[in-house]
Amino acid sequence: MKRYWRLIVIVTVVILTIGAFYIKSSLAAGNYPEFKIEKISGNERLINSVILNGNYTAGNSMGESVKVTPDGSEYNSNQSFIERIQGLYNNKIYRLQQEYRGFMRGKTGSITSYFEEEETLAYAEVINQSVRISNNDMEFDIAVLNKENDETISFTVPVPNRAMYTQVYVEDVQMTDDTLKVVTRNFSKDGGNAIYLYSFDIMKQEINEDERVAITGENENNAMNHLGMISASDQTAAQKYIIFSKDSPDGQDVQGYIVYNLETGEQRTLEPSQDLSGDALAYDNEYLYFSTGNQIVQYNIETDEITAEIDLPSQDTSNGDMQRNTLPMLHVDSDKMYLLTGNPGKKTSQNIAVIDTTTGETLYNGQLTSKKPIDQNGALHIFDIQIGS
């Protein structure tokens, strides 16, 4: 035995150290603060299925992604390897992958590429675009799944005038009957970009209409103004409109909104006014939601009037923070609005409220709390409100 001491020492040290490290890291909860949603007032049941997806950073580390629920928080680092690599996708895409495994195979693209209804799941993405090759092969990759009979129609169509563009990005997909409408942002080689709407006939498997909805540089004063897409609260749901903002070149001031009716093809511009000021957060069918700083305004774009004004919980500005407060985060789910306010970090707490969009009544009010005080440089950044798994 004595002759083998080198081997014995190395093997023992390796097993003890590495073993201890993995046993310890599986027991310790990573030493990150444990967050949860604590009720202040209202009906707790409303928040049961809420998941807040975020990232916790301490110091200058890369941060840890975390899910916060009413019961507690789950950090990415505490997940097993298998759980983690399956969670690489957006939550909604992951759910679609689980439910429609065959249809979703090989599909890339972000959540804006998908459209889901009770009977249909549609997908549109522009493939064959990369910096390496010239983009003359850009194609629409279209697939539509009929959930009832499990039949898939899929085809590819070249992007019209594709030689003009450097990149085409799918902003939204909508479908009515056999017509698939794809809203894209096309970056052209001369540096500008434009919003296009392509309509596909699913049965004939071809493009039957393409239309340029808006282009940067149209505005006479600001040749290079910027078009910001306002995202629908549920990006895969059916919507009657698409809305985007005409921003000043620096992206700071909104000079108006373009509302495009997908059914009629009509387009109109909403000019900023007393009623229409602040930062647009999201829209859901005919309702556009703004934040004015201390209120959330629900604006009906069909009747052009404010339908509800909801006061935000007062924010602590006593720390003399000259920075603009973080925009509230909004998720609309049928007639309920989930609202997250407050700045990440220790200075102000983050609040979550559930508000009835028809009456403006606050049904629930809660606060993100952590068991132990969070580190002075630590901050929890929430980037998504998710309802249900």
Binding site: I10, A58, G59, S61, M62, R84, I127, D375, Q376
Partner: protein, 276 residues
Amino acid sequence: MNRFTKLVNFELSRFMKIYLMLIALTIIVQVAGVIVKSNEYMARADKAISESMIPVAQFVEQNGAITFLDFARSLWFMASIGICAAALIFYVFLIWYRDWVGKNTFIYRLLMLPTNRLNIYLAKAISIVLMVLGLVSVQLIILPLENSVFKWMVPVDLRSDMTVGQIINGDYLSMLIPRTFTEFILHYGAGFMAVSVLFTAILFERSFKWKGIIAGVGYVIISVIIFALPILSTIFLNKNYLYPLELVGLEVVLGVIVTAMSIWLGNFLLTKKVTV
């Protein structure tokens, strides 16, 4: 079995002096790095606070509190790990070639041993793996010590503390010490595969000399292509057909195939073809 243990122990003994030097170097360089970097930061803080009369809190706000990652990302750390990695990669070759050099070529005696020649191959491979894991363990042992040195050097209001787990997960160290044991097995399994491929390439050269170099390089290229097949196909088809878990499963299977092929070929060359 006993023969095999003896061989492993023997291989370890032959590299022990350099190995211990590597460990000593790692400890000295890293601890020195912690001290130097802390002093630099403290000097900067002292200057700002005493000369420019900036309050501590404001200094931290402007410059950021120092964290352990400031060392982990410094040359002190990276160089020490890099030197150890380079030394072990070099030794993958040396562990074979040293047997052929010298007056009494040692490989004679090794090959004359009344044991299966596969044992010689595996003993060398296991020794490399053990030495890699040994260095990783040393890193794991000295990290908390270095973290204490850091806390002792920098006052609490200038630093932001991290646990050893956070330090490892927060940066490139997670390549060496992955988060979960599953990944640990996968990373070092891939490492073992790479060692076996290189060993077999070396034995090609030892068996057929000049022509063997071409065969060896060719063998490495074929192995890389087989292992990277799923990734290469994604690049060429521009489409990702596999779900992540399927991809991992396929890679494990391909990795096992490449490793088995390398060991089998290595054994064949060592038994039938190798020339002294």
